[in-house]
């Protein structure tokens, strides 16, 4: 647990949290590991966790029957994965599959969102941080959509 605490403390995402909030989060954290090819979560499942990826790479995917799996984005070391646990109706919208052997810290989102309902300060702190991540991912996705490297349509 001590190592977990140190890792979380050193990560920019958790910077600036009040000690009582930080302790709460550490209490909800555990080490997890996924072999290459293993799924972290599947589209449609209940979203009750989020992950801080420490090593390895995760592909956010959907699939079409005739095309097979389509990777939308990859999430790598040091990045946070998963915000559906915070937004009703709390279901994953995509599949997440480990591309390489992946070690991560899983945080119990289900537990945290109950705490957020009670302690709105915690909720606001988490939402601020996730809003920032969502903004980054959204902008990236929008620019990705421009198909900048393609020949002119």
């Amino acid at each position: 647990m001590e190592t977990l605490e140190r890792i979380l403390a050193e990560h920019p995402f958790f910077e600036g949290l009040e000690p009582r909030h930080f302790e709460l989060i550490v209490g909800c954290a555990s080490n997890v590991r996924f072999d290459a090819g293993q799924f972290l979560f599947r589209e449609g499942e209940e979203a009750n966790q989020f992950f801080l990826i420490r090593r390895g790479k995760v592909a956010l995917e959907t699939f079409a029957p005739e095309r097979g799996p389509i990777v939308i984005q990859t999430i790598g070391e040091g990045e946070i994965l998963g915000w559906s646990w915070l937004i009703p109706p709390y279901h994953w919208h995509f599949d997440a599959q480990a591309v390489d052997l992946t070690r991560a810290i899983a945080l119990d989102g289900k537990c945290l969102r109950t705490k957020c309902e009670v302690d709105h300060h915690l909720g606001y702190e988490l939402l601020k941080r996730f809003a920032h991540i969502m903004e980054q991912r959204l902008e990236a996705a929008m620019v990705q959509l421009l198909d900048l490297y393609g020949a002119r349509a």
Binding site: R42, E43, F63, P65, I70
Partner: protein
């Protein structure tokens, strides 16, 4: 237990249901770069193979309604002489007794051959097959129709059927998304629909090009714009499977129940009779249990890969 055929219409039991009926092409219309529409009328010398076909009364019935009755959402198997046969949704108005209309995209050998046919050429038709859109179940409700790309083609008959008895429905909304402005189907008809005061129509494209000043964004972004009562809504969705899954997600988050949402699926089909086995999707045959399915029935199968 045989699956419950919730959206089935009884279809004519043809003696040998693998034999096509000749239909003549009345008109070919180019819709977009790779999409075209065929208007088909029974070839004059064809007998419609329907049992029982009794003499004068039977012939008189055919004269009044030359084309077999179909329900919105059903499909025909279209046969190009000597080339092959494929399933294509019927896109015409179910109330039109004179002709069958099919819109399709050029994607393979048979569609390439279909594209080469001209007015006056004859092709083979078997059908209609499959389950239909819940046009009756939707009475008394708001109706939300969400079409992605060529998914508008199988939904058009549903919209026609609803509009033909407009007073039986609440709010009616059409949401249509496609890749780019040059891929928009049925432009003139869309304009006519938009001009009505009792129909909300929103169109969007994934990529705005050539001075497009309309909506840009995936079709699910139109759902928040539409006004409908989620608890009393029937939604009919057709397009690529990924688009349908995200549409259902969005509709559900608006409060539409999974049993009020309907998809139309597509799989390999050679017989359309439930005999060749190719169209199986989990425990269902898309040709006879579908192609229209209630979302709640297939929801868990949709997220299973390679089913």
């Amino acid at each position: 237990m045989a699956p419950v055929l919730e959206t089935m219409l009884p279809t004519a039991h043809v003696y040998d249901p693998m034999i096509p009926t000749p239909y003549r092409i009345h008109r070919v219309r180019k819709d977009t770069a790779d999409t075209f529409t065929l208007e088909l009328r029974p070839a004059a010398e064809a007998r419609r193979l329907e049992t029982p076909l009794q003499g004068e009364a039977g012939l008189a019935r055919i004269a009044r309604h030359p084309v077999p009755r179909f329900a919105a959402g059903q499909f025909n198997m279209l046969y190009v002489f000597g080339v092959g046969e494929i399933p294509i949704s019927i896109t015409g108005d179910p109330a039109d007794p004179k002709q069958l209309v099919h819109t399709t995209r050029v994607v393979g050998t048979v569609t390439k051959a279909l594209r080469k046919l001209k007015r006056g050429d004859v092709l083979g038709v078997r059908g209609p097959f499959g389950s239909c859109w819940p046009v009756e179940e939707a009475r008394g409700n708001d109706v939300v129709i969400v079409a992605g790309g060529i998914g508008l083609a199988p939904l058009r008959p549903a919209l026609c059927a609803v509009l033909s008895e407009r007073e039986k429905y609440g709010k009616v909304v059409l949401l249509y998304g496609t890749r780019s402005p040059s891929d928009i189907l049925y432009q003139r008809e869309l304009e006519r629909w938009r001009a009505r005061f009792d129909l909300e129509v929103y169109v969007t494209v994934d990529r705005g090009t050539g001075g497009w000043r309309g909506n840009v964004g995936v079709v699910t972004t139109l759902i928040p714009k539409a006004s409908f009562d989620p608890v009393n809504t029937i939604a009919m969705v057709c397009g690529p499977e990924v688009m349908m899954r995200f549409t259902a997600l969005e509709l559900e988050s608006r409060g539409v129940g999974a049993d009020s949402i309907f998809f139309s699926l597509e799989r390999n089909m050679k017989c359309a009779l439930g005999f060749c086995g190719r169209c199986q999707f989990g425990p269902t045959f898309v040709c006879k249990d579908g192609p229209v399915f209630r979302y709640s029935r297939i929801k868990s199968w949709l997220t299973q890969r390679e089913i």
